[in-house]
């Protein structure tokens, strides 16, 4: 499953001279925006994107031993869509282990019943998996606003675009779209320096 994640780095460096992210300018289809600032800079901000339509493993292998992957539409072409499905418990086959905790929306709020190889906007327009940020931004406007200002989401590379480029995460690099809240994690061990050592609760006050 990690291969597609790595492949998310799809080189969509926009036109020459493109450089600095500035918020509001958004193309018609609402791509992850890279706009040109007034000061052309030699390096650009690359926003990671999904490689494309996801594939599902069938559990079978082909004659070369490679797993057989199929697109969502392979099964869903013959399966009737149920618009009321809100939880994996509602399903009697497939997707049984999927953890789904994402507001009060149904599967078909985001998945497109007319073509499962695309996603669905709230106004029922289809949108490609690669443009997932457009989909998420419909509900998560404040996050998108902050993202466009460079205040939301992790990044790597250079603060100074005259010295080098920068790579920014897209929504699903950090958030599982089916359960977007960050899970509980164990922290890295604390430092063992003298200041950080906790005072013993029953320690007597020292006399000076």
């Amino acid at each position: 499953m990690n291969k597609p994640l790595i492949a998310f780095f799809c080189g969509t460096l926009l036109a020459a001279g493109a450089s600095k992210i500035i918020g509001a300018e958004q193309g018609g289809a609402g791509l992850a925006v890279i706009a040109v600032s007034t000061n052309p800079q030699p390096h650009s901000v690359l926003i990671r994107r999904p490689a494309g339509t996801p594939k599902v493993g069938t559990g079978l292998t082909d004659f070369q031993g490679e797993p057989v992957m199929v697109s969502c539409g392979s099964c869903h072409a013959t399966t009737k869509a149920n618009i009321d499905t809100r939880a994996t418990a509602d399903l009697d086959q497939f997707h049984q282990g999927l953890k789904y905790v994402h507001g009060h929306i149904t599967c078909l709020s985001c998945h497109n019943a007319k073509n499962y190889d695309t996603l669905r906007m709230a106004d029922s327009r289809p949108v490609d998996f690669t443009e997932v940020m457009t989909l998420c931004s419909q509900c998560h406007g404040p996050q998108k606003r902050d993202y466009d200002m460079g205040l939301h989401g992790g990044m790597n590379g250079h603060w100074d675009l005259t010295k080098g480029g920068r790579t920014r995460n897209t929504c699903i690099n950090c958030h599982d779209p089916h359960a977007p809240a960050f899970p509980l994690v164990m922290p890295v061990l604390p430092p063992r320096d003298r200041i950080s050592v906790p005072a013993k609760p029953n320690a007597k006050p020292t006399k000076h």
Partner: protein, 309 residues
């Protein structure tokens, strides 16, 4: 005095001569004992090191010699090939840092990244960042808990990483009796580790507990040493000197983002040039409700905290 009157022993030595000899021997032994610490010192600190001038008085040639010597010392003492450079502050740049407390989940990945990037002592698991677990409703970092060890984030807590705030009026600089620490033109407070005498006044003066003391000679396996080093930042510090967060100046003065920012899995950290009105950190100041720690002290930190609203 007539030698014939002195009684001679069987070897033909007078009592006076023998006592003289014993006295000379005792004196020599006492002298050797007295200068023993000096010989110990000479083994650890070469004369070049001892006679080295203050960083600001070094000519480019002096500096070149010193950097070469430090690289060789690292090779000799740690077995690692490193490159130690001296990166200068850029014109028109003043660094600022902002941290979103709404999304920080207290995972300490930033502290770990700092530990690795800055060649910290491995046994003490040292880092320039201390993450405080705070009760919601409290803003007093002194009441924070820096040693929590349970899954994070806890529902009734928020998490506040604290590192050097790069104050506009740094009290640590004011108290240094030898001027071994100062504020650079790009706002970073640095330490000349070779000039520091280890009095720890600065540690006591810092209200953010941001300074660290090298109680022991740092222990780092050669394979783990970050070879990209600079004189004022992450070169391996000697024993007995102070150190502190320098906004990864060996990275940031080359345009790169600090290690703690790149390591943050929640994107809580925002870094940039305060003098550039389009920089991300300026967007925080313009659009978010920002506060600084212990504002009442008037030290004007260049490190800002904010919440998503």
């Amino acid at each position: 005095m007539d030698t014939a009157t002195e009684p001679l022993d069987s070897n033909g030595l007078s009592r006076r001569t023998a006592l003289k000899g014993v006295g000379a021997m005792l004196g020599a032994a006492a002298f050797a004992r007295a200068i023993a610490p000096l010989t110990e010192w000479a083994r650890d600190i070469p004369v070049d090191d001892f006679l080295q001038k203050h960083y600001k008085e070094l000519t480019p040639i002096d500096l070149e010699i010193i950097l070469n010597r430090l690289q060789k010392d690292t090779k000799d003492q740690y077995g690692a090939d490193v490159t130690i450079k001296d990166y200068k502050a850029q014109e028109g740049v003043k660094f600022g840092y902002a941290l979103n407390l709404s999304v920080c989940n207290g995972c300490r990945k930033c502290a770990e990244a700092c530990h690795i990037e800055n060649n910290h002592d491995r046994p003490s698991h040292q880092s320039y960042i201390r993450v405080f677990e705070m009760s919601k409703g409290s803003m007093d970092m002194e009441k924070g808990n820096a040693h929590y060890d349970h899954p994070v984030p806890q529902p009734d807590k928020f998490y506040m990483p604290v590192q050097c705030q790069q104050c506009e009026h740094p009290p640590c600089v004011d108290v240094c009796p030898v001027e071994a620490t100062w504020k650079e033109p790009d706002g970073i407070v640095v330490v000349d580790y070779n000039w520091c005498i280890g009095c720890r006044y600065c540690e006591a003066a810092c209200p953010y507990h941001a300074r660290r003391f090298n109680w022991t000679k740092p222990v780092i396996p050669a394979v783990e040493i970050n070879p990209n080093q600079s004189y004022l930042s992450n070169r391996i510090r000697p024993q007995g000197v102070m150190e502190k967060c320098h906004f990864c100046l060996h990275r940031t003065r080359n345009g790169r983002l600090p290690a703690c920012l790149e390591a943050c899995p929640t994107g809580a950290r925002v870094f940039g040039n305060l003098l550039d009105p389009n920089s991300e950190v300026r967007q925080v100041l313009a659009h978010k409700r920002v506060f600084v720690l212990k504002e009442e002290l008037g030290l004007k930190p260049q490190f800002f905290y904010f919440f998503d609203v």
